[in-house]
Amino acid sequence: MRLLANLALQNLGRRKARSLLLIAAVAISSGVVFTGATLMRSIDDSMAVGFTRLGADMMVVPEGALTNITAALLTVEPTDLVLDADVLAKVRLASVARAAPQKIARVEHSGIGGHHELVDLIGIDPALDFTIQPWLKEKLGRELRPGDVILGAGRDAPLGSQLLIFGKPHMVYGKLGRTGVGTHERGVFMSIATLEAMAPSMPQRPAVVAPGKVTGFLVELAPGATALQARFAILSAVKGARVVTGDSSLSGIRQGLAALLKGILAVMLLMFASMAVMVSVLFSAIVTERRAELGLLKAIGARGTQLIGVMVVEAVIATGFGGVLGVTLGVLVMRFYERSLVYYLDNIGVPFVWLDLPHTVAFAAAAIVLAAAIGALGALYPAWRASRRDAYDLVRGEG
């Protein structure tokens, strides 16, 4: 009813200082939660990129394969030995979060570089890969397709240009940033299907280009799993494999930071919960103060639902407005954050991936709706209690 809504609005205007304090408290809480959630998701995504750039936790390669250990496990090393492509998928180890297969064929006379230059052609599964694509410095504005190649930082060709490999044209889809890992720097990356399709054109065909075979896997540990656990699990499940472990401290940092982010999220949720309690306490006080008015409304025929409606609408208007204000403040804070810290991180080469616009809008809407819902819930109980009192007790300021 419009008159009751007006009544709620005018009640807010009647106690300006209290209403402003309530709005400010809700604005701060919802602003912190909105900004925190948006930044956390952004940091989470950035960490995903940053950590995957640090490479895999371990590599699984054929027993007897030589490996050149670097600080970052980004690619496997070329070898004549192969593993079955589905060897890890078949055993499904709990200690393995994901395993990205790679095929690496070291070839000459490919048409890339000098005539006798050895070029590493590296096949990846774009859906499972987590050590190559995070390093994409520039790329075409679409997904990787068959026939596309990605160039290591040590090779140069314009994006979208044609590159002849064994006489067949391939489009330069993207270029990687500098990693300092030789294979990565000089490699030419493509999907496994693209590499396999290239095989008939190769004068000397390495065993690895055959379908169903891979040079090895880059492995990320499952949360809580140790390298030792995974190593034993893999070795006992996969015959003829060798496990190469990377820098174990990176796994620990990755897992530790993921837990920390979850902890921060829990703190933010607690903050929203405390806001709910605060709103409820405040509206208990407001209902107490307005007992006579509520009693009068009841005396002239307002139903219990109408009394509750007045209080809840009043709360929703205040907390919803606080939510909108909080989100606006949050956006301003993030603009400041972008101009300072993110700018600095960008300058030192640390990637920061902002949450995309649809998700940011969804977070903003959720923060506002949640703030309004907390207001409604906070006012509901005291209003419901008041609506059940005798009108006479309320009119006399009792009950």
């Binding site: 005018q10 008015e293 009068l296 005396a299 139903r303 005798d390 009119v395």
Partner: protein, 222 residues
Amino acid sequence: MLACRQVSKSYKTERGVVSAVAGVDLEVPAGRFVAIIGRSGSGKSTLMAMIGGLSRPSTGTVEVGGIDVWRLSETALAAFRNERIGYVFQFASLLPTLRLIDNVALPAMLGRRQSTAAAYAKASGLLDRMGLGGYLDAYPSEVSAGEQRRAAIARALINDPALLLADEPTSDLDEQTEIEIMDELLAVNRELGTTLVLVTHNLALAEQAEQIVHIANGAIVA
């Protein structure tokens, strides 16, 4: 019109059970002006609250127009208060954030029996009748206590109640305003045929009533 049978109200307090009204029997025919008199704390306001559906009796029944008030559901009781009863309280009982015309129209709009336009037209007419035609858009704080009380009477009449309950409606007013308010209430009783129950401790006011009920210690003594 109004029948109370063995109506009692008691409260539990830290010092034990306190009886505010004890076994009251009362019959009031339709259209009569009844004054309930008694000293402060005698239970007269509590009795009126039970008659008007504002306070549930501990025991006994209250019938208004043949309706057993306290057997009604919460929703039906709200509709009863809205449609059958008009209240004028002893304090300035207007909602401070609404204009006088909004205050008067509010019961009609709560009951949804009248359109908004009809409710406001009637509210305007009632305020005019109370001599407040020039204050339709004024807020309660912008008019005097007597004018607020007259607006409260207008509000009580908006739904054409069968029973008008006035609880010490002139308690904080000067003598001249008191006379004016009483004249309004008497006019409503005589011209509209509305049953009027007036709670007062002012014997001079009570003498104008057709029936006087004297309450002491929660019981009718005369």
